[in-house]
């Protein structure tokens, strides 16, 4: 074992941080508020992978790291580790959350209908260079819909498409299950995952997984390395109430609403349909669609190695994977020097043998 000492390290580290700040502009409360208000999908992504719903802190983490998302997620996870667990909310039922967007690619006529919601999916992908050139006014968000005569949507639950499939006999009914105690669910933050993982741990891991990692593995499945070719049964974005129990009266109340997204994918298998599912904090459609595909893929008896449950869950953990990656930047002089010694010895031996 050998160590490397650095001389003048403390001063250099302080100067390095000062240079980082100088090159990345002023960090202040105004910037944080602007990020929170105007870059909600970026904030959502940090909260999703940081597994902590705290928009103000996620915006601060983005501002503080100059937008380096892995660093921002690490900051949020680090903050989370300083906080005590104080309560368990009631489980979110997707049917009762305030749904803003719900579409199905598998069925056109679904109860509750197809609601595009807030999206740029069907808009032209053109850069508004006219805004930069001063030829156009900036866009001001309007409070009123552009179709003012639209009636208010009924404030009634929109059932998941799976429920409709079950009612129509296209899917087997779920076996009756006792209500889960929110305090007793398997939890990857408290217990190491053992494979095959309990479904609750699998879905929790996907919920906090790296978007890019989930997409890469999910895309590999979509391109043909997988065993399925599913269709999106449902994608849903909405607000879910955080329902807590009042510790004195026992009354259930909402402490506020959080942004949540979920996706179901459906695939035919023989004479039955099978489903994949994923959900996450914040609005992130790519992650939940790719995650739902991986959920389905991981159930296959002999999945491609990249879709094996252990492979997927271990390699899409954003803090562990990015942390392991960047640890290679740290001094490895002694180990690498040892490698060079071995290389030189091997060359000397080869030279001696050839003489």
């Amino acid at each position: 074992m050998a160590y490397v000492a650095a001389r003048g390290g403390e001063a250099a580290i302080q100067e390095a941080e000062a240079l980082f700040r100088r090159l990345n502009g002023t960090l202040d409360a105004g910037l944080v508020q602007q990020i929170e208000r105007q870059l909600p999908y970026l904030v959502d992504r940090v909260m999703s992978e940081g597994s902590l719903y705290a928009p103000e802190l996620a915006a601060l983490a983005i501002a503080q790291t100059g937008g380096d998302l892995y660093e921002a997620i690490l900051l949020l996870r680090a903050y989370r580790s300083t906080q005590p667990r104080v309560a368990y909310a009631a489980p979110v039922d997707p049917a009762t959350m305030q749904t803003l967007r719900r579409i199905s690619a598998a069925f056109k006529d679904i109860p509750g209908g197809q609601i595009l919601g807030p999206t740029l999916d069907y808009s032209h992908r053109l850069l508004r260079t006219d805004l930069l050139d001063g030829d156009a006014q900036g866009e001001v968000a309007s409070e009123q819909p552009t179709t003012p005569e639209s009636p208010a949507i009924l404030n009634s639950p929109i059932p998941p498409v799976t429920e409709w499939l079950r009612l129509n006999g296209l899917l087997a009914a779920l076996p009756p299950q006792p209500p889960a105690d929110p305090a007793l669910l398997p939890d990857v933050t408290r217990e190491a995952v053992r494979f095959p993982a309990p479904r609750a741990q699998r879905l929790q891991s996907l919920a906090r997984a790296d978007t890019g990692g989930v997409l890469a593995l999910g895309y590999a499945s979509m391109r043909g390395y997988g065993l399925i070719h599913p269709t999106v049964n449902e994608v849903r974005l909405g607000y879910a109430d955080v329902l807590l129990e009042h510790p004195i009266s026992g009354v259930r109340f909402s402490a506020g609403r959080v942004r949540v997204s979920m996706a179901e994918v459906v695939s035919s298998h023989g004479d039955t349909l099978e489903l994949g599912y994923a959900a996450t904090l914040g609005w992130n459609e790519v992650k939940v669609i790719a995650g739902a595909m991986l959920d389905l893929e991981m159930d296959k008896p002999n999945p491609h190695p990249a879709h094996d449950e252990e492979f997927v869950l271990y390699h899409t953990e954003p803090v562990e994977s990015s942390g392991f990656c960047i640890h290679y930047k740290l001094p490895h002089y002694v180990t690498f020097s040892s490698n060079l010694d071995a290389l030189r010895r091997a060359r000397e031996m080869a030279a001696e043998e050839s003489e």
Partner: protein
């Protein structure tokens, strides 16, 4: 004016603008004192979610909340709200305790109704905006 029920007023007030709630409680405070703060801190709430495919329940993530527990006029109050605003949580808990103790009955009921109306108006606009994005799909 009758008090709205506890679930209703806590759910409404936790979503109401923090500054409005804090200003209202600041105005009521001389009437509510003396107040004992039993607990006021931030913490994490585990948020479970139902898996619609296979019926599992799993943690979709954690939520940062500020919570407070107070005592006034012989009654205890509790509240929690999203984020880390301890003063907001304290203000909400004071209102909860005041409701339990029967203090400032008319003023609090009127405040809750006003906040509920404001949120309902906001939600109505949102629901109209959502409805405007509904599509009917046809196959040919």
């Amino acid at each position: 004016m009758a008090y709205p029920d506890q679930s209703f007023y806590l759910s409404i007030l936790s979503r109401s603008p923090a500054t409005v709630v804090k200003d209202f409680v600041e105005h009521l405070l001389p009437t509510l004192e003396p107040v004992e703060v039993l607990h006021n801190s931030t913490g994490l709430v585990m948020l479970p979610m139902q898996d619609t495919a296979k019926g599992a329940t799993f943690y979709v993530g954690e939520v940062l909340v500020a919570s407070a527990r107070v005592r006034l006029a012989g009654a205890e109050g509790y509240a929690a709200c999203l984020g880390r605003d301890l003063t907001q949580a304290l203000a909400l808990a004071l209102l909860d305790a005041a409701c339990t103790a029967g203090c400032c009955r008319a003023e609090i009921a009127a405040f809750v109704q006003a906040q509920a109306a404001a949120l309902e108006a906001e939600d109505l606009v949102l629901r109209q905006q959502i409805e405007a994005t509904r599509v009917e799909l046809e196959t040919f």
